[in-house]
């Protein structure tokens, strides 16, 4: 069988580094609006405890890194949603960023493939 593959364009990667246990809050908030395919990695963070002094004990050094690929048109909306869900306006809760992706690829449903077949 001849195999073909399609690259996806206009994709942006949103990455959020949050306190351990908060990763699932984000993925749940994303699933609610139909965004799937998030990844959670375990990580260790360094620095915020030192900056906060005595209050640093309240901050978990264990971190979770959530990364999710979204369409570039939707970035602002989803970026905001993650920010609010993870309560990143609280000191020590974490940070997030969006990076443009050159290209991406995954399984594309045939119904969509056929739409672009001629191009």
């Amino acid at each position: 069988m001849k195999r073909s593959f399609t690259t996806l364009t206009d994709a942006t990667l949103i990455t959020a580094v949050v306190q351990s246990g908060c990763g699932e809050v984000i993925t749940d908030a994303l699933l609610e609006i139909g965004i799937q395919g998030s990844t959670i990695h375990a990580a260790m963070g360094v620095g915020i405890r030192e900056r906060l002094g005595a209050l640093g004990v309240a901050i978990d050094a264990e971190r979770e890194v959530v990364s999710v690929m979204v369409s570039s048109d939707e970035v602002d909306r989803i970026f905001e949603r993650i920010f609010l869900a993870a309560k990143l306006d609280v000191p020590g809760n974490g940070f997030m960023y969006a990076t443009p992706l050159l290209q991406a690829a995954t399984y594309v449903p045939p119904s969509i493939l056929s739409k672009y077949a001629g191009q």
Binding site: G47, R49, L52, L55, E80, P91, G92
Partner: protein, 598 residues
């Protein structure tokens, strides 16, 4: 012509949702400092200054998640007990405000203690576990593991429950039980600690050599059972009442301090020897050994006591102590008054362990502690938490358990506390008591966070054949049945060995038939269920119940609650094994058929 306003749709969306503004990231970065040669100066991390609102925002989730974790274990149990008393036994909770305060202290204390354990003690365990095997020969490592086993036993929050329980025992009825819990209480805990230490050594060696757990179980459980039979049947020494305590001691040891610290050391040793990764089972087994050896230790100690001290001396000494206590009651020493007594207990439990860990780390290993501030904060939290927990133990858990245990007898027998007792006919009353214990066991076990973790491990280990919910169900069912058996034992006043002998015999037979994985999981599941909330509550309930029934020996309920889950998990394991094999055979057959057709 109408005037038309044009607004960019994007602006509209922005205005509707959240205020956004842009700040260059540079603002967050510190200004680099250069000396005159153009080299960058090192500079201290700038401290972040937070306003009051932000401090609340940071602390609130930190405190609430940790408090809710503990409340989840305590509150449902307390509500269940109180409702049961109120509805079925028709008696309101006595001293309700004191009990509620005590339970609050238990939750706050446990919250602080667990946080302290995580921040203060676990880092020690990890650093020692990782570096010790590289710097010391195996004998030295094992010796330190042994000492650590003793230290963690004293630091175990549930161990205090034994001492609290000891004050309820009547010295005339069960002299040896009394002396082991009161004037020889320290020796008992030490023996339990020795057992845990020995288990830590043996468990570590097992990691290294890759021994099977099965022979170890046979070699330890069989003599323990034999000694128990001797203590039970050999009348002249009068140790029959000690058996329940001995088997309960095994269940008490495997709590939130012992398991992670001893495991950290064992896993460290195994990975230093390059054997950590190949066996996912390496974490198991220590818990089992750590619950069998203390039983053996307590039995040996009781034999020694029985052979050297006569019951009469104990009774006389107990009377003397009581007299002295009565004299002192008018003017108690400051260290015997409530908060101080518990504070001393708490400090005595944690500080020696911390000092020991520090000596190992700083003197033997010459390592430095990273982030010392956090560690010291953790240690202080652990000590303070332990003290608060001890206060709560006396006024909350022990009081509530004692009360419900004493009152439940009123369901089928005549007791003083309930004027209308017996409330129900004998058979209905006994059934009520049994059912009460069963539901209590089921609820308390399913709420135990450690069980959830074990369930996940097992599910991964068996590639999903043994589901998490199945394991949790089996363990909870086992504990529930065990508690019920324990209560029935007290009602009909038969000896604990009538449950332990058939139970452990069945357990040993199932062990022979099962594969190594299920043996490891099954025997460990017994230790997992006995957390710092369940143990004191069940102990106090058993003793209160025993006292109300006029039986001398309220111990043994924890012991029956330990063997039943072992049997339940092993049986389920055999069933799963059988099912997997049948499935494999079916698939093999299908393939064979397909082959024929093609």
């Amino acid at each position: 012509m109408a005037k038309r306003h044009a607004i960019r749709f994007g602006d509209y969306i922005q205005a509707m949702v959240v205020d956004t503004q842009q700040v260059p990231f540079e603002e967050l970065m510190p200004e680099p400092l250069f000396d005159r040669h153009g080299n960058e100066h090192p500079q201290p991390v700038p401290k972040l200054k937070l306003g009051g609102g932000d401090v609340v925002k940071v602390l609130q989730p930190y405190l609430s998640t940790r408090f809710i974790d503990q409340a989840r274990a305590v509150v449902p149990l307390a509500i269940y007990l109180a409702l049961f008393q109120y509805i079925v036994l028709q008696t309101p909770v006595m001293d309700a405000s004191i009990v509620a305060g005590g339970l609050l202290a238990v939750m706050v204390g446990l919250m602080m203690f667990m946080e302290g354990l995580k921040l203060g003690l676990m880092p020690f365990g990890e650093v020692i576990g990782n570096t010790l095997p590289r710097k010391l020969p195996l004998v030295g490592v094992l010796f330190i593991a042994f000492l650590l086993g003793i230290g963690v036993t004293f630091a175990e929050p549930a161990i205090g429950a034994l001492q609290v329980a000891g004050s309820i025992v009547d010295p005339v009825e069960a002299p040896y039980l009394y002396t082991l819990l009161n004037d020889r209480g320290g020796a008992t805990v030490l023996v339990v600690g020795l057992g845990v230490g020995l288990a830590a050594v043996l468990g570590t060696v097992r990691f290294l050599r890759g021994w099977s757990l099965k022979p170890l179980i046979f070699m330890t459980v069989t003599p323990t059972l034999a000694l128990s039979v001797i203590a039970w049947k050999w009348d002249p020494i009068g140790l029959s009442s000690i058996v329940g305590l001995a088997w309960d001691a095994g269940a008490v040891t495997t709590g939130p301090v012992t398991v992670p610290l001893v495991l950290a050391l064992g896993v460290g040793v195994a990975s230093a020897a390059g054997k950590g990764a190949d066996s996912s089972l390496s974490g198991f087994g220590i818990v089992t050994l750590a619950s069998v050896f203390p039983i053996l230790g307590v039995l040996c100690l009781s034999f020694y006591t029985a052979l050297t001290v006569s019951p009469e001396t104990i009774i006389a000494a107990a009377a003397e102590v009581k007299l002295a206590a009565a004299m002192a009651a008018s003017q108690p020493q400051w260290y015997e008054v409530t908060p101080w007594a518990e504070v001393i207990l708490g400090v005595r439990a944690i500080v020696p362990l911390v000092i020991f860990l520090m000596i190992v780390l700083f003197v033997v290993l010459r390592e430095k502690m990273k982030s010392a501030f956090i560690t010291y904060y953790g240690i202080i939290m652990a000590v303070v938490g332990m003290c608060i927990f001890n206060v709560g133990l006396t006024y909350g858990l022990a009081k509530l358990g004692d009360q419900s245990g004493g009152l439940i007898a009123g369901a089928f027998a005549s007791i003083d506390a309930i004027s209308a007792s017996p409330l129900y006919s004998f058979s209905v009353g006994v059934a009520t008591a049994g059912l009460f214990a069963w539901v209590l066991g089921l609820g308390a076990t399913l709420a135990e966070p450690a069980l959830n973790a074990l369930g996940m491990t097992v599910q991964n280990l068996t590639n999903g054949a043994f589901k998490k919910s199945m394991l949790m169900g089996a363990v909870a069912f086992g504990v529930a049945t065990g508690l019920m058996l324990g209560v029935l034992k007290l009602i009909f006043d038969f000896h604990i060995m009538y449950i332990l002998i058939p139970g452990y015999t069945l357990g040993l037979i199932l062990t022979l038939l099962s594969t190594e994985e299920f043996v490891n999981v099954g025997w460990d599941s017994a230790g997992v269920t006995t957390g710092p909330v369940t143990v004191p509550l069940v102990l106090a309930m058993g003793l209160g119940f025993g006292n109300a029934m006029g039986s001398t020996d309220g111990f043994g309920i924890l012991a029956t609650a330990s063997i039943c889950p072992i049997v339940a998990v092993l049986t389920l394991g055999l069933y799963v094994q059988f099912k997997v094999k049948r499935e494999e055979r079916r698939i093999a057959k299908e393939f064979a058929l397909e082959g024929e057709i093609v």
